[in-house]
Protein backbone atom coordinates (compact mmCIF):
# COMPACT_ATOMS: atom_id res chain seq x y z
CA UNK A 1 0.00 0.00 0.00
CA UNK A 2 2.67 2.42 1.13
CA UNK A 3 4.94 1.58 -1.80
CA UNK A 4 2.01 1.98 -4.15
CA UNK A 5 1.33 5.45 -2.76
CA UNK A 6 5.00 6.39 -3.11
CA UNK A 7 4.74 5.37 -6.77
CA UNK A 8 1.73 7.61 -7.24
CA UNK A 9 2.94 10.69 -5.41
CA UNK A 10 6.67 10.30 -5.95
CA UNK A 11 7.48 11.41 -2.42
CA UNK A 12 7.57 9.28 0.74
CA UNK A 13 6.44 12.22 2.88
CA UNK A 14 3.26 12.88 0.92
CA UNK A 15 2.59 9.15 0.64
CA UNK A 16 2.98 8.88 4.39
CA UNK A 17 0.42 11.59 5.07
CA UNK A 18 -2.00 10.17 2.51
CA UNK A 19 -1.66 6.68 4.00
CA UNK A 20 -2.27 8.12 7.45
CA UNK A 21 -5.37 10.04 6.36
CA UNK A 22 -6.93 7.28 4.25
CA UNK A 23 -8.71 5.38 7.05
CA UNK A 24 -10.39 8.62 8.08
CA UNK A 25 -11.81 9.33 4.65
CA UNK A 26 -12.31 5.75 3.48
CA UNK A 27 -13.76 4.25 6.63
CA UNK A 28 -14.58 6.53 9.52
CA UNK A 29 -16.37 9.46 7.90
CA UNK A 30 -18.59 7.42 5.55
CA UNK A 31 -19.17 4.95 8.35
CA UNK A 32 -20.16 7.72 10.78
CA UNK A 33 -22.59 9.09 8.20
CA UNK A 34 -24.21 5.70 7.81
CA UNK A 35 -24.00 4.70 11.47
CA UNK A 36 -25.70 7.80 12.85
CA UNK A 37 -28.59 7.30 10.46
CA UNK A 38 -28.60 3.55 11.06
CA UNK A 39 -28.82 4.07 14.78
CA UNK A 40 -31.86 6.28 14.42
CA UNK A 41 -33.54 3.93 11.99
CA UNK A 42 -32.66 0.82 14.03
CA UNK A 43 -33.95 2.39 17.22
CA UNK A 44 -37.09 3.59 15.46
CA UNK A 45 -37.92 0.22 13.99
CA UNK A 46 -37.16 -1.57 17.24
CA UNK A 47 -39.67 0.69 18.96
CA UNK A 48 -42.23 0.37 16.18
CA UNK A 49 -41.67 3.92 14.93
CA UNK A 50 -40.55 5.15 11.54
CA UNK A 51 -37.62 7.38 12.51
CA UNK A 52 -36.46 10.21 10.22
CA UNK A 53 -38.59 10.12 7.07
CA UNK A 54 -38.63 13.64 5.60
CA UNK A 55 -35.11 14.18 4.26
CA UNK A 56 -34.80 12.15 1.11
CA UNK A 57 -36.18 8.65 0.60
CA UNK A 58 -36.91 7.22 4.07
CA UNK A 59 -34.75 9.97 5.56
CA UNK A 60 -31.42 8.85 4.08
CA UNK A 61 -30.09 12.42 3.97
CA UNK A 62 -30.92 13.12 7.60
CA UNK A 63 -27.28 12.89 8.73
CA UNK A 64 -26.14 15.25 5.98
CA UNK A 65 -28.76 17.73 7.14
CA UNK A 66 -27.59 17.24 10.73
CA UNK A 67 -24.00 17.96 9.77
CA UNK A 68 -25.02 21.13 7.95
CA UNK A 69 -26.93 22.13 11.06
CA UNK A 70 -23.98 21.43 13.35
CA UNK A 71 -21.59 23.45 11.17
CA UNK A 72 -23.87 26.47 11.32
CA UNK A 73 -24.36 26.32 15.07
CA UNK A 74 -22.77 28.89 17.31
CA UNK A 75 -19.73 27.68 19.18
CA UNK A 76 -20.74 28.56 22.72
CA UNK A 77 -17.97 28.86 25.27
CA UNK A 78 -19.13 29.90 28.71
CA UNK A 79 -17.10 32.50 30.62
CA UNK A 80 -16.20 30.30 33.57
CA UNK A 81 -14.63 27.49 31.58
CA UNK A 82 -10.96 26.76 31.19
CA UNK A 83 -10.66 27.90 27.59
CA UNK A 84 -7.44 26.14 26.51
CA UNK A 85 -8.33 22.73 27.83
CA UNK A 86 -11.96 23.11 26.77
CA UNK A 87 -10.95 23.73 23.17
CA UNK A 88 -8.34 21.00 23.07
CA UNK A 89 -10.33 18.16 24.67
CA UNK A 90 -12.53 17.15 21.68
CA UNK A 91 -9.47 16.87 19.48
CA UNK A 92 -7.58 14.80 22.04
CA UNK A 93 -10.49 12.38 22.29
CA UNK A 94 -10.67 12.13 18.52
CA UNK A 95 -6.87 11.69 18.19
CA UNK A 96 -7.05 8.82 20.66
CA UNK A 97 -9.81 7.01 18.86
CA UNK A 98 -8.44 7.67 15.40
CA UNK A 99 -4.87 6.64 16.29
CA UNK A 100 -6.15 3.18 17.15
CA UNK A 101 -6.94 2.64 13.47
CA UNK A 102 -3.25 2.95 12.58
CA UNK A 103 -2.50 -0.70 13.34
CA UNK A 104 -5.64 -2.31 11.95
CA UNK A 105 -5.24 -4.47 8.84
CA UNK A 106 -8.12 -3.47 6.58
CA UNK A 107 -7.19 -5.82 3.74
CA UNK A 108 -4.03 -7.55 2.55
CA UNK A 109 -3.38 -4.48 0.40
CA UNK A 110 -3.99 -1.93 3.15
CA UNK A 111 -2.50 -3.13 6.42
CA UNK A 112 -1.81 0.19 8.11
CA UNK A 113 1.25 -0.14 10.30
CA UNK A 114 2.20 -3.78 10.62
CA UNK A 115 4.20 -3.30 13.81
CA UNK A 116 4.93 -6.26 16.05
CA UNK A 117 3.29 -4.67 19.07
CA UNK A 118 0.10 -3.59 17.33
CA UNK A 119 -2.26 -5.11 19.87
CA UNK A 120 -0.46 -3.52 22.78
CA UNK A 121 -0.43 -0.19 20.97
CA UNK A 122 -4.17 -0.47 20.40
CA UNK A 123 -4.79 -0.88 24.12
CA UNK A 124 -2.32 1.84 25.12
CA UNK A 125 -3.42 4.57 22.75
CA UNK A 126 -6.98 4.45 24.03
CA UNK A 127 -5.68 6.04 27.24
CA UNK A 128 -5.52 9.30 25.25
CA UNK A 129 -9.31 9.12 25.04
CA UNK A 130 -9.44 8.79 28.81
CA UNK A 131 -7.26 11.87 29.26
CA UNK A 132 -9.37 13.78 26.74
CA UNK A 133 -12.60 12.89 28.53
CA UNK A 134 -11.17 14.04 31.85
CA UNK A 135 -9.94 17.23 30.19
CA UNK A 136 -13.33 18.01 28.68
CA UNK A 137 -15.20 17.19 31.87
CA UNK A 138 -12.97 19.21 34.13
CA UNK A 139 -12.56 22.26 31.92
CA UNK A 140 -16.33 22.64 31.44
CA UNK A 141 -16.51 23.76 35.07
CA UNK A 142 -19.84 22.06 35.44
CA UNK A 143 -20.66 19.47 38.05
CA UNK A 144 -22.52 17.24 35.63
CA UNK A 145 -19.60 17.27 33.22
CA UNK A 146 -17.10 16.50 35.96
CA UNK A 147 -19.25 13.70 37.35
CA UNK A 148 -19.74 12.28 33.88
CA UNK A 149 -16.01 12.41 33.18
CA UNK A 150 -15.19 10.74 36.50
CA UNK A 151 -17.72 7.99 35.90
CA UNK A 152 -16.56 7.50 32.36
CA UNK A 153 -12.90 7.28 33.30
CA UNK A 154 -13.43 4.91 36.22
CA UNK A 155 -15.55 2.73 33.97
CA UNK A 156 -13.02 2.70 31.14
CA UNK A 157 -10.13 1.95 33.50
CA UNK A 158 -12.03 -0.89 35.19
CA UNK A 159 -13.13 -2.49 31.96
CA UNK A 160 -9.67 -2.22 30.45
CA UNK A 161 -8.63 -5.07 32.73
CA UNK A 162 -10.90 -7.83 31.35
CA UNK A 163 -10.17 -6.55 27.83
CA UNK A 164 -6.45 -6.75 28.46
CA UNK A 165 -6.71 -10.25 29.96
CA UNK A 166 -8.70 -11.55 27.00
CA UNK A 167 -6.22 -9.92 24.64
CA UNK A 168 -3.45 -11.61 26.60
CA UNK A 169 -5.22 -14.93 26.15
CA UNK A 170 -5.32 -14.36 22.41
CA UNK A 171 -1.65 -13.36 22.41
CA UNK A 172 -0.82 -16.62 24.17
CA UNK A 173 -2.83 -18.58 21.64
CA UNK A 174 -1.43 -16.84 18.58
CA UNK A 175 2.01 -16.04 20.07
CA UNK A 176 2.18 -12.66 18.34
CA UNK A 177 1.10 -9.08 18.97
CA UNK A 178 0.99 -8.25 15.30
CA UNK A 179 -2.60 -7.83 14.15
CA UNK A 180 -1.72 -8.70 10.57
CA UNK A 181 -0.07 -11.97 11.61
CA UNK A 182 -3.07 -12.83 13.77
CA UNK A 183 -5.29 -12.25 10.76
CA UNK A 184 -3.18 -14.41 8.52
CA UNK A 185 -3.17 -17.27 11.01
CA UNK A 186 -6.93 -17.45 10.50
CA UNK A 187 -6.78 -17.65 6.73
CA UNK A 188 -8.76 -19.95 4.43
CA UNK A 189 -12.16 -20.99 5.81
CA UNK A 190 -14.24 -19.99 8.80
CA UNK A 191 -13.34 -23.04 10.87
CA UNK A 192 -9.88 -21.54 11.15
CA UNK A 193 -11.19 -18.47 12.94
CA UNK A 194 -10.05 -18.08 16.50
CA UNK A 195 -13.59 -18.25 17.81
CA UNK A 196 -13.70 -21.79 16.46
CA UNK A 197 -10.36 -22.72 17.98
CA UNK A 198 -8.09 -21.12 15.42
CA UNK A 199 -5.67 -23.20 13.42
CA UNK A 200 -5.34 -25.77 16.23
CA UNK A 201 -6.14 -29.34 15.31
CA UNK A 202 -7.49 -32.41 17.06
CA UNK A 203 -8.71 -32.41 20.64
CA UNK A 204 -7.23 -28.96 21.41
CA UNK A 205 -9.61 -27.35 18.92
CA UNK A 206 -12.66 -28.83 20.61
CA UNK A 207 -11.41 -27.79 24.03
CA UNK A 208 -10.75 -24.27 22.77
CA UNK A 209 -14.14 -23.60 21.18
CA UNK A 210 -16.17 -23.04 24.40
CA UNK A 211 -13.32 -21.05 25.94
CA UNK A 212 -13.07 -18.85 22.85
CA UNK A 213 -16.81 -18.21 22.89
CA UNK A 214 -16.60 -17.19 26.54
CA UNK A 215 -13.58 -14.99 25.83
CA UNK A 216 -15.41 -13.36 22.94
CA UNK A 217 -18.43 -12.58 25.10
CA UNK A 218 -16.21 -11.11 27.82
CA UNK A 219 -14.28 -8.88 25.44
CA UNK A 220 -17.51 -7.81 23.73
CA UNK A 221 -19.05 -6.75 27.03
CA UNK A 222 -15.95 -4.99 28.26
CA UNK A 223 -15.30 -3.12 25.01
CA UNK A 224 -18.96 -2.11 24.99
CA UNK A 225 -18.39 -0.61 28.41
CA UNK A 226 -15.18 1.05 27.25
CA UNK A 227 -16.94 2.94 24.48
CA UNK A 228 -19.63 4.07 26.96
CA UNK A 229 -22.55 2.53 25.15
CA UNK A 230 -25.79 1.38 26.72
CA UNK A 231 -26.18 -0.63 28.98
CA UNK A 232 -22.97 0.96 30.19
CA UNK A 233 -23.81 4.59 29.36
CA UNK A 234 -23.74 5.72 32.98
CA UNK A 235 -21.21 8.50 32.07
CA UNK A 236 -23.75 10.24 29.88
CA UNK A 237 -26.92 9.05 31.58
CA UNK A 238 -29.34 11.62 30.17
CA UNK A 239 -31.79 11.34 33.03
CA UNK A 240 -29.13 12.08 35.64
CA UNK A 241 -26.29 14.06 34.07
CA UNK A 242 -27.81 15.95 31.10
CA UNK A 243 -25.28 14.35 28.74
CA UNK A 244 -22.18 13.70 30.78
CA UNK A 245 -18.77 15.10 30.04
CA UNK A 246 -19.78 16.90 26.84
CA UNK A 247 -22.75 18.73 28.29
CA UNK A 248 -21.17 22.14 27.65
CA UNK A 249 -20.05 21.46 24.10
CA UNK A 250 -21.87 22.80 21.07
CA UNK A 251 -21.53 22.81 17.31
CA UNK A 252 -18.50 21.20 15.75
CA UNK A 253 -16.81 20.35 19.03
CA UNK A 254 -19.84 18.37 20.05
CA UNK A 255 -19.69 16.73 16.63
CA UNK A 256 -16.06 15.77 17.31
CA UNK A 257 -17.07 13.94 20.49
CA UNK A 258 -19.87 12.29 18.60
CA UNK A 259 -17.56 11.23 15.80
CA UNK A 260 -15.01 9.94 18.30
CA UNK A 261 -17.66 7.82 20.00
CA UNK A 262 -18.68 6.25 16.72
CA UNK A 263 -15.05 5.81 15.65
CA UNK A 264 -14.39 4.06 18.96
CA UNK A 265 -17.31 1.71 18.40
CA UNK A 266 -15.93 0.82 15.00
CA UNK A 267 -12.38 0.41 16.31
CA UNK A 268 -13.33 -2.06 19.04
CA UNK A 269 -15.58 -3.93 16.59
CA UNK A 270 -12.62 -4.22 14.23
CA UNK A 271 -10.43 -5.40 17.10
CA UNK A 272 -12.91 -8.16 17.94
CA UNK A 273 -13.09 -9.04 14.25
CA UNK A 274 -9.33 -9.40 14.02
CA UNK A 275 -8.99 -11.33 17.26
CA UNK A 276 -11.85 -13.78 16.85
CA UNK A 277 -13.42 -13.60 13.42
CA UNK A 278 -10.58 -13.92 10.98
CA UNK A 279 -9.91 -10.25 10.31
CA UNK A 280 -10.23 -9.44 6.65
CA UNK A 281 -10.31 -13.09 5.55
CA UNK A 282 -13.37 -14.39 3.82
CA UNK A 283 -15.13 -17.34 5.45
CA UNK A 284 -15.73 -19.09 2.12
CA UNK A 285 -12.76 -18.36 -0.13
CA UNK A 286 -12.52 -15.59 -2.69
CA UNK A 287 -14.39 -14.90 -5.87
CA UNK A 288 -11.25 -13.26 -7.25
CA UNK A 289 -9.24 -16.46 -6.78
CA UNK A 290 -11.76 -18.69 -8.48
CA UNK A 291 -12.22 -16.26 -11.37
CA UNK A 292 -8.48 -15.64 -11.63
CA UNK A 293 -8.77 -11.89 -11.14
CA UNK A 294 -6.03 -10.97 -8.69
CA UNK A 295 -6.95 -7.36 -7.96
CA UNK A 296 -10.41 -8.39 -6.83
CA UNK A 297 -9.12 -10.26 -3.76
CA UNK A 298 -7.98 -7.23 -1.68
CA UNK A 299 -11.26 -5.46 -2.45
CA UNK A 300 -13.21 -8.50 -1.32
CA UNK A 301 -11.10 -8.62 1.83
CA UNK A 302 -11.88 -4.97 2.55
CA UNK A 303 -15.57 -5.64 2.06
CA UNK A 304 -15.44 -8.66 4.38
CA UNK A 305 -13.60 -6.70 7.04
CA UNK A 306 -16.07 -3.83 6.88
CA UNK A 307 -19.01 -6.25 6.93
CA UNK A 308 -17.76 -8.08 10.01
CA UNK A 309 -16.93 -4.84 11.82
CA UNK A 310 -20.27 -3.26 10.98
CA UNK A 311 -22.09 -6.37 12.17
CA UNK A 312 -20.70 -5.82 15.65
CA UNK A 313 -21.57 -2.12 15.48
CA UNK A 314 -25.11 -3.16 14.62
CA UNK A 315 -25.18 -5.51 17.63
CA UNK A 316 -24.00 -2.61 19.81
CA UNK A 317 -26.89 -0.49 18.52
CA UNK A 318 -29.32 -3.36 18.98
CA UNK A 319 -28.22 -3.75 22.61
CA UNK A 320 -28.60 -0.03 23.18
CA UNK A 321 -32.31 -0.18 22.42
CA UNK A 322 -32.88 -3.46 24.22
CA UNK A 323 -31.26 -3.24 27.61
CA UNK A 324 -31.83 -0.73 30.42
CA UNK A 325 -28.91 1.13 31.96
CA UNK A 326 -26.94 -0.48 34.78
CA UNK A 327 -26.46 1.14 38.17
CA UNK A 328 -22.94 2.14 39.19
CA UNK A 329 -22.60 -0.66 41.73
CA UNK A 330 -23.93 -3.22 39.24
CA UNK A 331 -21.44 -1.91 36.71
CA UNK A 332 -18.51 -2.50 39.04
CA UNK A 333 -19.92 -5.86 40.17
CA UNK A 334 -20.13 -7.09 36.60
CA UNK A 335 -16.55 -6.05 35.96
CA UNK A 336 -14.74 -7.06 39.13
CA UNK A 337 -16.77 -10.03 40.36
CA UNK A 338 -17.68 -11.70 37.08
CA UNK A 339 -15.67 -10.63 34.05
CA UNK A 340 -12.22 -10.50 35.63
CA UNK A 341 -12.32 -13.88 37.44
CA UNK A 342 -13.78 -15.58 34.38
CA UNK A 343 -11.25 -14.02 32.06
CA UNK A 344 -8.40 -15.06 34.35
CA UNK A 345 -9.78 -18.61 34.40
CA UNK A 346 -9.93 -18.59 30.59
CA UNK A 347 -6.38 -17.29 30.47
CA UNK A 348 -5.16 -20.17 32.65
CA UNK A 349 -7.14 -22.83 30.78
CA UNK A 350 -6.03 -21.60 27.36
CA UNK A 351 -2.44 -21.52 28.59
CA UNK A 352 -2.83 -25.09 29.76
CA UNK A 353 -4.32 -26.21 26.45
CA UNK A 354 -1.66 -24.51 24.37
CA UNK A 355 1.01 -26.25 26.46
CA UNK A 356 -0.29 -29.77 25.81
Amino acid sequence: MYNFLIDIFGSPVIAFFVAAALPLFLFILPYALIAVLAERKVSAHMQDRLGPMRTGYHGIFQTVADILKLIQKEDITANSIDRTLFNFAPYLVFIGSFAAFAVLPFSSFFVGSSIDIGLFYFLAISSLVVAGILMGGWSSNNKYSLLGAMRSVSQIISYEIPTAIVVLTMVMLTSTLNLDTITNQQTAYFWNWNILGGAATGIAKFLLIPLMFAAFIIIFISTLAEVNRTPFDIPEAESELVSGFFTEYTGMKFAMFFLAEYANMLAVSFLITVLFFGGYHSPFGYLGNSLGIEWLVPIEQGVWFATKGLTFVLVQMWLRWTLPRLRVDQLMTVCWKYLIPYSVAILLLVGFITLI
Partner: protein, 165 residues
Protein backbone atom coordinates in the same frame (compact mmCIF):
# COMPACT_ATOMS: atom_id res chain seq x y z
CA UNK B 1 17.18 10.51 6.87
CA UNK B 2 16.21 14.17 6.94
CA UNK B 3 12.59 13.32 7.67
CA UNK B 4 13.65 11.43 10.78
CA UNK B 5 15.62 14.45 11.95
CA UNK B 6 12.58 16.67 11.58
CA UNK B 7 10.44 14.19 13.48
CA UNK B 8 13.07 13.91 16.19
CA UNK B 9 13.27 17.67 16.68
CA UNK B 10 9.47 17.84 16.70
CA UNK B 11 9.24 15.30 19.50
CA UNK B 12 12.13 16.88 21.37
CA UNK B 13 10.45 20.29 21.15
CA UNK B 14 7.15 18.84 22.36
CA UNK B 15 8.90 17.22 25.31
CA UNK B 16 10.89 20.27 26.36
CA UNK B 17 8.20 22.89 25.83
CA UNK B 18 5.56 20.88 27.63
CA UNK B 19 8.08 20.10 30.37
CA UNK B 20 8.59 23.84 30.88
CA UNK B 21 4.82 24.31 30.99
CA UNK B 22 4.56 21.55 33.62
CA UNK B 23 6.91 23.46 35.88
CA UNK B 24 5.66 26.96 35.17
CA UNK B 25 1.89 26.64 34.81
CA UNK B 26 -0.04 28.53 37.45
CA UNK B 27 -2.89 26.03 37.38
CA UNK B 28 -1.96 22.57 38.61
CA UNK B 29 -4.40 20.87 36.23
CA UNK B 30 -2.66 22.55 33.30
CA UNK B 31 0.61 21.14 34.63
CA UNK B 32 -0.88 17.66 34.78
CA UNK B 33 -2.21 17.87 31.24
CA UNK B 34 1.03 19.15 29.79
CA UNK B 35 2.70 16.22 31.49
CA UNK B 36 0.64 14.17 29.03
CA UNK B 37 2.45 15.86 26.14
CA UNK B 38 5.80 15.34 27.84
CA UNK B 39 5.18 11.61 28.16
CA UNK B 40 3.95 11.51 24.60
CA UNK B 41 7.08 13.27 23.30
CA UNK B 42 9.36 10.94 25.24
CA UNK B 43 7.59 7.92 23.84
CA UNK B 44 7.99 9.37 20.34
CA UNK B 45 11.73 9.61 20.94
CA UNK B 46 11.74 5.98 22.12
CA UNK B 47 10.10 5.00 18.85
CA UNK B 48 12.79 6.82 16.88
CA UNK B 49 15.43 4.96 18.89
CA UNK B 50 13.90 1.63 17.90
CA UNK B 51 12.63 0.85 21.39
CA UNK B 52 9.08 0.10 20.28
CA UNK B 53 7.98 -1.89 23.31
CA UNK B 54 9.33 0.71 25.70
CA UNK B 55 7.49 3.46 23.83
CA UNK B 56 4.13 1.73 24.14
CA UNK B 57 4.81 0.88 27.79
CA UNK B 58 5.54 4.56 28.32
CA UNK B 59 2.10 5.49 26.99
CA UNK B 60 0.33 2.60 28.71
CA UNK B 61 1.86 3.09 32.15
CA UNK B 62 2.43 6.82 32.33
CA UNK B 63 -0.44 8.24 30.29
CA UNK B 64 -2.96 5.47 30.92
CA UNK B 65 -2.07 4.84 34.54
CA UNK B 66 -0.04 7.38 36.44
CA UNK B 67 -1.31 10.51 34.71
CA UNK B 68 -4.95 9.52 35.10
CA UNK B 69 -4.36 8.74 38.78
CA UNK B 70 -2.66 12.10 39.19
CA UNK B 71 -5.50 13.92 37.46
CA UNK B 72 -8.07 12.13 39.58
CA UNK B 73 -6.22 13.17 42.72
CA UNK B 74 -5.87 16.78 41.60
CA UNK B 75 -9.46 17.09 40.45
CA UNK B 76 -10.93 15.53 43.55
CA UNK B 77 -8.98 17.80 45.85
CA UNK B 78 -9.33 20.89 43.69
CA UNK B 79 -13.00 20.81 42.86
CA UNK B 80 -14.81 18.96 45.58
CA UNK B 81 -13.19 20.29 48.73
CA UNK B 82 -12.66 23.77 47.26
CA UNK B 83 -9.03 23.90 48.25
CA UNK B 84 -7.38 26.15 45.70
CA UNK B 85 -4.13 24.50 44.73
CA UNK B 86 -1.78 26.92 43.07
CA UNK B 87 1.79 26.42 42.16
CA UNK B 88 4.32 29.23 42.05
CA UNK B 89 8.04 29.92 42.08
CA UNK B 90 9.81 30.00 45.42
CA UNK B 91 13.51 29.99 46.28
CA UNK B 92 14.50 31.05 42.77
CA UNK B 93 18.09 31.91 43.61
CA UNK B 94 19.08 28.62 45.32
CA UNK B 95 17.29 26.73 42.58
CA UNK B 96 19.38 28.44 39.91
CA UNK B 97 22.58 27.57 41.76
CA UNK B 98 21.52 23.95 42.16
CA UNK B 99 20.46 23.70 38.55
CA UNK B 100 23.71 25.23 37.29
CA UNK B 101 25.76 22.85 39.42
CA UNK B 102 23.75 19.89 38.18
CA UNK B 103 24.10 20.99 34.56
CA UNK B 104 27.86 21.46 34.98
CA UNK B 105 28.28 18.00 36.52
CA UNK B 106 26.11 16.41 33.85
CA UNK B 107 28.04 18.13 31.08
CA UNK B 108 31.35 17.09 32.65
CA UNK B 109 30.27 13.47 32.98
CA UNK B 110 28.93 13.35 29.46
CA UNK B 111 32.07 14.77 27.88
CA UNK B 112 34.51 12.73 29.96
CA UNK B 113 32.73 9.38 29.61
CA UNK B 114 34.16 7.00 27.07
CA UNK B 115 30.91 6.11 25.30
CA UNK B 116 30.73 2.69 23.76
CA UNK B 117 30.05 3.20 20.07
CA UNK B 118 29.69 0.35 17.66
CA UNK B 119 27.65 -0.04 14.56
CA UNK B 120 24.60 -2.07 15.45
CA UNK B 121 21.51 -2.66 13.45
CA UNK B 122 18.31 -1.68 15.25
CA UNK B 123 16.18 -4.82 15.62
CA UNK B 124 12.77 -4.75 13.98
CA UNK B 125 11.11 -5.46 17.29
CA UNK B 126 12.39 -5.73 20.82
CA UNK B 127 9.39 -7.57 22.23
CA UNK B 128 10.69 -11.11 21.75
CA UNK B 129 14.13 -10.50 23.23
CA UNK B 130 12.65 -8.59 26.16
CA UNK B 131 10.15 -11.36 26.84
CA UNK B 132 12.82 -14.03 26.64
CA UNK B 133 15.14 -12.11 28.99
CA UNK B 134 12.32 -11.54 31.47
CA UNK B 135 11.60 -15.22 31.90
CA UNK B 136 15.18 -16.46 31.75
CA UNK B 137 17.91 -14.14 32.99
CA UNK B 138 15.81 -11.74 35.04
CA UNK B 139 13.15 -14.22 36.14
CA UNK B 140 13.84 -13.72 39.85
CA UNK B 141 13.75 -9.91 39.62
CA UNK B 142 10.60 -10.11 37.53
CA UNK B 143 8.86 -12.34 40.08
CA UNK B 144 9.97 -10.13 42.96
CA UNK B 145 8.59 -7.06 41.19
CA UNK B 146 5.32 -8.90 40.66
CA UNK B 147 5.13 -9.72 44.38
CA UNK B 148 5.94 -6.10 45.24
CA UNK B 149 3.08 -4.86 43.07
CA UNK B 150 0.75 -7.46 44.56
CA UNK B 151 1.68 -6.32 48.06
CA UNK B 152 1.00 -2.72 47.05
CA UNK B 153 -2.41 -3.74 45.66
CA UNK B 154 -3.38 -5.64 48.79
CA UNK B 155 -2.18 -2.74 50.93
CA UNK B 156 -4.25 -0.26 48.93
CA UNK B 157 -7.32 -2.48 49.19
CA UNK B 158 -6.96 -2.86 52.96
CA UNK B 159 -6.47 0.90 53.45
CA UNK B 160 -9.55 1.60 51.36
CA UNK B 161 -11.59 -0.93 53.35
CA UNK B 162 -10.63 0.27 56.82
CA UNK B 163 -13.10 3.18 56.79
CA UNK B 164 -16.10 0.89 56.82
CA UNK B 165 -15.52 -0.51 60.32
Amino acid sequence: MELYDIIFYLFAAITIVSGIVVVNAKNIVHSAFSLLLTFFGVSGIYVLLGADFLAIVQIMVYVGGILILLLFGVMLTNKITDVEIRSGSFQVFPAIIGLAAFAAILFGVMTSTNWKTESFEIPATTTFQLGRLLISEYALVFELLGILLLVALIGAASIARRDKE
